[in-house]
C-alpha cells in the first residue's frame, strides 16, 4: 500500500574530515517517529532452548564498533514521505525481515538518533550511544530489543 506522499526532508548532518557523519541527535526527528531495523533471517536468528523458540539475537541491536560507528536504521516517516510503503522499502532489493521501535525508546535510554543519508538510501539513519557512540550498554540493548515489534515478520521467529 502506498502512503500519501508528504514532503519530509531533514536538515543534512555535519560531516567530519573523512566525510563521515558526526554522531548527533537530530532535533527534526520526533520522539513519536519510528525507526526500522532490518533483520536477516539467516544471520540474526538463533535457537533459544530456554524459551523454546527461535528468536532475534541481541547482536542485532549493537552499533558498529568502528570509531563513531552507530546502528543503522531506516527512518520510517522519511520512507512514508517518499510515498513508499515501509514494509516494501526495507525488503528491497534483498528480502529480509524488519522490526521497528520508537525514537522515544532510544532517547529514553540515553541514545542519540540521527540522520545519515546514503546514496542508495536517503532514509538511512543511525542510533549512537551517548558516552560511547559505538557501544550500547546491556540495558540499552535490552530496552531496544524488548520494545521492538515486527514490521515484516519472519515465520516462526520470536522477537525475544
Amino acid at each position: 500500500m502506498l502512503c500519501p506522499k508528504r514532503e519530509q526532508k531533514l536538515r543534512l548532518p555535519d560531516l567530519d574530515d573523512n566525510g563521515d557523519v558526526v554522531p548527533h541527535d537530530h532535533d527534526e526527528i520526533q520522539n513519536d517517529d519510528f525507526l526500522i531495523r532490518r533483520v536477516n533471517p539467516k544471520q540474526h536468528v538463533v535457537p533459544d532452548d530456554n524459551r523454546g523458540c527461535r528468536r532475534i539475537s541481541s547482536k542485532l541491536f549493537q552499533p558498529s564498533s568502528a570509531e563513531n560507528g552507530g546502528m543503522s536504521v531506516d527512518i520510517k516517516p522519511l520512507i512514508e514521505g517518499l510515498g513508499e510503503a515501509p514494509e516494501q522499502y526495507v525488503v528491497t532489493p534483498v528480502f529480509l525481515g524488519a522490526v521497528e521501535f520508537s525514537v522515544d525508546v532510544a532517547r529514553g535510554n540515553n541514545l542519540r538518533v540521527g540522520y545519515d543519508p546514503l546514496p542508495d538510501n536517503e532514509c538511512h539513519g543511525e542510533v549512537w550511544g551517548s558516552n560511547r557512540p559505538n557501544r550500547f550498554s546491556g540495558s540499552q540493548n535490552k530496552a531496544l530489543h524488548r520494545s521492538c515489534r515486527w514490521l515484516v515478520e519472519l515465520d516462526d521467529v520470536e522477537l525475544i
Binding site: S64, L118, G138
Partner: protein, 156 residues
C-alpha cells in the same frame, strides 16, 4: 602429544631447513561431535558474507576476528558444552552465544583479545558482564555451570 599449530610445515622456526635434523612428530586429533563440522561451515559462511548482507552496509566477519573466535572456542569450551550459535555484526565482529539450561551466555568478539562477555541467569534474574582481553577464567566458569546444568537436566 604436540601442538598442531605447526602442521603442514607452517612454523615460525626455519631450523629444519638447514640443520638436516628431522623431527619425529605425532599429531592428535580431537573430535567434539557432529556440531563441530557445522561450526566450521558456519565460520566459512560468516567470513564470506556479501557486502550489504544486513540490508545496510554490512561487511563479512573479519578474518582475524573469526580466527580469534575459533581459537577461543577450541580452547575454553568444556568437553560437554552445547553447540554455540555464531551471529555476525555489521562491522566484521561476531558474537558467540548460548541460550540453554537457564543461562544466556554471549561473547561479543569485538576484536582479538577484545571481548564483552555477558551472562544472564533466567532463574535468579542476575546479569554479569565482563570485558575480557586474555583471561577467560570467569567465562570458563560460566560455561562449566551451563554445561553441568545441562548434564543434571539430562540425568533427571
Amino acid at each position: 602429544m604436540t601442538n598442531s599449530s605447526n602442521r603442514g610445515g607452517s612454523s615460525v622456526s626455519v631450523l629444519n631447513d638447514h640443520t638436516g635434523f628431522q623431527a619425529h612428530r605425532v599429531l592428535v586429533d580431537w573430535h567434539r561431535g557432529d556440531w563441530w563440522d557445522k561450526l566450521q561451515a558456519r565460520f566459512k559462511e560468516l567470513t564470506s558474507l556479501p557486502r550489504g548482507w544486513d540490508g545496510y552496509a554490512g561487511v563479512p566477519v573479519a578474518w582475524d576476528n573469526a580466527s580469534f573466535a575459533a581459537k577461543l572456542i577450541g580452547t575454553i569450551l568444556p568437553q560437554n558444552c552445547p553447540e554455540p550459535s555464531l551471529v555476525p555484526g555489521a562491522d566484521g565482529t561476531l558474537q558467540i552465544e548460548w541460550h540453554q539450561n537457564s543461562f544466556d551466555i554471549e561473547l561479543d568478539i569485538l576484536g582479538p583479545n577484545n571481548v564483552i562477555a555477558t551472562r544472564y541467569n533466567l532463574v535468579t534474574d542476575e546479569t554479569n558482564e565482563v570485558h575480557v582481553e586474555t583471561d577467560f577464567s570467569e567465562v570458563v566458569c560460566w560455561l562449566d555451570a551451563m554445561s553441568e546444568a545441562g548434564a543434571e537436566i539430562e540425568a533427571a
